[in-house]
């Protein structure tokens, strides 16, 4: 089953054959194509961009239908299409749009689903996943026009989480269009949340970040990567117990080492900056100033701010290492999660049917941002 760079997928084939397909949000729209258009006179060029974006979104929904996507979050870029367009796309979709904190501004009722439950059954084993969708509450011009409101994520999740648990939800997953600080706040408020997938920061690292007791995994951007995640259940406390990423400890250790290097570098630069010009140590210059023949003129405060930032990151990494424990990652009786963010490189094997479909689509709807 070659997918990326001719390599087989990680994990057993049947795991991927039966995989749960999800979209974490901001699927439909590059907001730059539509920004400033809504509520104003529509120029022919803007109208073409909007029609192109909508046609692309409809194609994506059709393909998601065909592939069996289980749930899709809506992000703030998607909101730029407008409420009517999103409702039209939802009517087209055979799967739920999951937007836990997006509501009608007047009635307070959810625009789409607050969550979806997915029962996974394999022989005598089973688990019930609850999948939520959250977005950060940031100003968006379309909200007022469309009479929509983004509730604070913690407020919106409270009732939805209780309802999902009442229906037997065991594993709590959030499709995230949240800023990192909001993921951390949600994770702190609700220890039941185990995984955040995506995020509104377009990261491309397969390393997990801590968000409360939950683990947060990046969603990449613009189709550059797909996330292939495996969940293995083994904790005596059941499927609701926190997940451990065996790679997480190594990732934290790399971050600790990197932060320590930065602390050492800035401490050295601050020391050098305090020495008189012409002293032998004045040869040590900050990056980019070597060979200039002049004493570096970077203000001391800049180094001090960078040192403070590096020290804060170092402390976070040290805290994370201490909290993890020495043997978590290697234990058998735990719930394990692992992620491969596979790049969709130029060696990706094309599916002939889809390839022909896209080529036909592009004859009518050219890519408005090629190469970007």
């Amino acid at each position: 089953m070659p997918v990326a760079d001719g390599k087989p997928l990680p994990g057993a084939a049947n795991v991927w054959r039966d995989a749960i397909l999800l979209d974490t949000g901001d699927c439909f729209s590059d907001v730059g194509q539509l920004q400033g258009e809504r509520g104003a006179a529509v120029s022919p060029l803007a109208a073409l961009a909007k029609a192109n974006t909508m046609a692309t979104a409809e194609l994506l929904v059709d393909r998601y239908n065909a592939e069996g996507v289980r749930a899709q979050n809506i992000g703030e870029r998607d909101l730029a299409l407008g409420r009517a367009a999103l409702e039209s796309l939802k009517a087209r979709a055979k799967y739920p749009f999951v937007t836990t904190n997006l509501v009608d501004a007047g009635s307070g009722k959810p625009l789409f689903s607050r969550f979806v439950l997915v029962d996974v059954v394999r022989a005598d084993k089973h688990v019930k996943l609850a999948i939520f969708g959250l977005m950060s509450n940031r100003p968006a011009p379309s909200l007022e026009v469309d009479k929509l409101k983004i509730l604070p994520p913690i407020e919106a999740l409270k009732g939805a989480l209780a309802d999902a648990k009442a229906q037997g939800a065991e594993v709590i997953i959030v499709l995230s269009q949240l800023l990192a600080r909001d993921e951390a706040a949600v994770g702190e408020a609700y220890p039941e949340v185990q995984l955040f997938l995506g995020g509104d920061f377009m990261g491309m690292s397969p390393d997990a970040e801590l968000a409360g007791r939950a683990l947060s995994f990046a969603g990449s951007q613009k189709g550059k990567h797909l996330g292939f995640m495996t969940l293995k259940f083994g904790a005596p406390a059941g499927a609701s117990a926190p997940f451990i990423d065996p790679k997480h400890k190594a990732s934290i250790e790399r971050k600790r080492a990197d932060a320590q290097r930065r602390v050492d570098t800035y401490q050295k630069l601050i020391t050098e900056a305090g020495k008189p010009p012409g002293s032998p140590s004045a040869a040590v210059a900050p990056p980019g100033t070597q060979g200039s023949g002049e004493r570096p003129k970077v203000p001391l405060e800049v180094y001090e701010r960078q040192l403070a930032s590096a020290k804060a990151e170092l402390q976070l990494a040290l805290d994370a290492v201490a909290a993890m424990g020495p043997s978590d990652a290697d234990a058998d009786g735990i719930n394990k999660v692992s992620l491969e963010l596979l790049p969709l490189s130029r060696d990706v094997v094309d599916d002939p049917t889809v390839k022909a479909l896209i080529e036909a689509f592009r004859k009518k709807w050219p890519d408005l941002t090629p190469g970007h």
Partner: protein
Amino acid sequence: MRMLLGFIAVLGVIACGRSEAPATTDETAVQLAPVAAADLAAAPIVSAASGLEIGIIYAGNMMGKLEPCG
């Protein structure tokens, strides 16, 4: 051929051999594989998931891209 097809192309590859997904309804359980009621009843509650391995494939921040860039 250097044309890239992104998420949907990859899913197209993976979809080979996949059974057609059942229709989903909001906030209702979606069963991924048939199971006899007796099997569910016999399964122990606490450790029902123990030993289970499942896969999740996700895309994020696609921003309307049909061909991945970069």
